[in-house]
Point group: D2
Chain length 147, copies 4
Amino acid sequence: MRQNLRNKTNMKYYHKDIRIRYAETDQMGVCYYGNYFVWFEVSRTEYFRELGFPYTEYEKKGIFLPVGEAYCRYHKSLKYDDLITVTVWISKLKRTSMQFSYIITKKGEKEPVAEGHTTHVFVNRDMKPCRIPEEIRKNITVVEGVK
Amino acid sequence: MRQNLRNKTNMKYYHKDIRIRYAETDQMGVCYYGNYFVWFEVSRTEYFRELGFPYTEYEKKGIFLPVGEAYCRYHKSLKYDDLITVTVWISKLKRTSMQFSYIITKKGEKEPVAEGHTTHVFVNRDMKPCRIPEEIRKNITVVEGVK
Amino acid sequence: MRQNLRNKTNMKYYHKDIRIRYAETDQMGVCYYGNYFVWFEVSRTEYFRELGFPYTEYEKKGIFLPVGEAYCRYHKSLKYDDLITVTVWISKLKRTSMQFSYIITKKGEKEPVAEGHTTHVFVNRDMKPCRIPEEIRKNITVVEGVK
Amino acid sequence: MRQNLRNKTNMKYYHKDIRIRYAETDQMGVCYYGNYFVWFEVSRTEYFRELGFPYTEYEKKGIFLPVGEAYCRYHKSLKYDDLITVTVWISKLKRTSMQFSYIITKKGEKEPVAEGHTTHVFVNRDMKPCRIPEEIRKNITVVEGVK
């Protein structure tokens, strides 16, 4: 497995651009609040790929990362066709769990429109907690996140 | 299995009431067109349960019903908090496939707001087509559906 | 408006049963984490209806309740066709904002499978904060919620 | 308006790449059938942008394109993290309505995994049918589509 890892030691942040879909709006004319958690997931997927260990590989090896906790704070609304940037990083790393933090801005802007975090437990096929694989752990740099 | 089947021979139609969720609206102020296919699925679930053979039982037995074709015609728009009735029935039945048809009305009204159909192939865990179990087939009455 | 209010003074909790949809599952075989926030919304809708002031009425009067914060803690997974009960109540009430809290159990069971909260700001059509209408405020009993 | 139109006369096909999200899978381990209609919408958005007249501009001008009919045929299943290409084009154009057709392939492959169409009526804010603006019509080349 190690040889498949691109040399991404000390990766800190990943920035994922997402275009807001019509399906993601609601009748208030803005994006429905539950969809932010989908964008969080999309940016996690790209974080893991960039780290050299795509999430599809985890599940093939029998490692799953169910969500233990999810939080989002909404500062400003988002609209259809807005182009956003989700900045994602790992803000906690324990023996069997990790926390991702997220800041959403409109692309090219600095002011956050939303921020949040999700915690994940590493489990095997029987949903028992297991240790985070060393090949992943050693490539991760933890940065303090959104509380 | 046969003894688990409630005596629903010749069931024709099932009527499922669904309350429209805020999440299902879009910025046009009406329900997003893709969600109608979710309500179709919800009504299929209830059709199978009423037939005496819940869909959860199919998958436990290694029978799956992926969708081969889906169609919807939209006559009138639906809004948040509308209470709709999905009338669902089986409109075709072959050796390894079946078709469901659907009419959506506002509850208590006769005018259809949408109608459609979905076709399904019976497959095993290897996604190979398989025959529809006799216990199901014999309880089904086919009624001509939405073209 | 007052005369439309059913006499629900001091309503504390509302219990909303929801059947899990196939669309709400993911390839882990359980419910996707973002959908819990949809069920929270469905239970808020029923809470307001039960209080005698359906949310559709708010928007007609030019009052909107965008979400300021959303949180969910996941204890156990949920599966397709599970029947859940969302218990919802108001856990904070300020001049221009309120917090809902939620506990999800499988119907008839006591152990929570998830719990969370959402905060909402009352705003007018220009998205400026406005006071919670007195007709609503006086019917609400606040109960301490999920932290 | 005309001066805003980039010179895209006779545009025929647009190809939109989409990465499948975890949220879009279901417990069968493949993509939920209703989500294909979301990808259709995403590719329509990009078609209109490429044509020089983004859909956001339509709604600002009081023109809406509700869906009249939607159809999809599913040939093969799609999985989480698959990268797909949606090829989209206009397959019918009438005075007040149009039809889009779609073919989905895995990126770089030729075999369709799904194909379909949607019809749209041009309406004004009162949901009355209206003519397709000439600036749009003249830039469109119609190609026969998926029946």
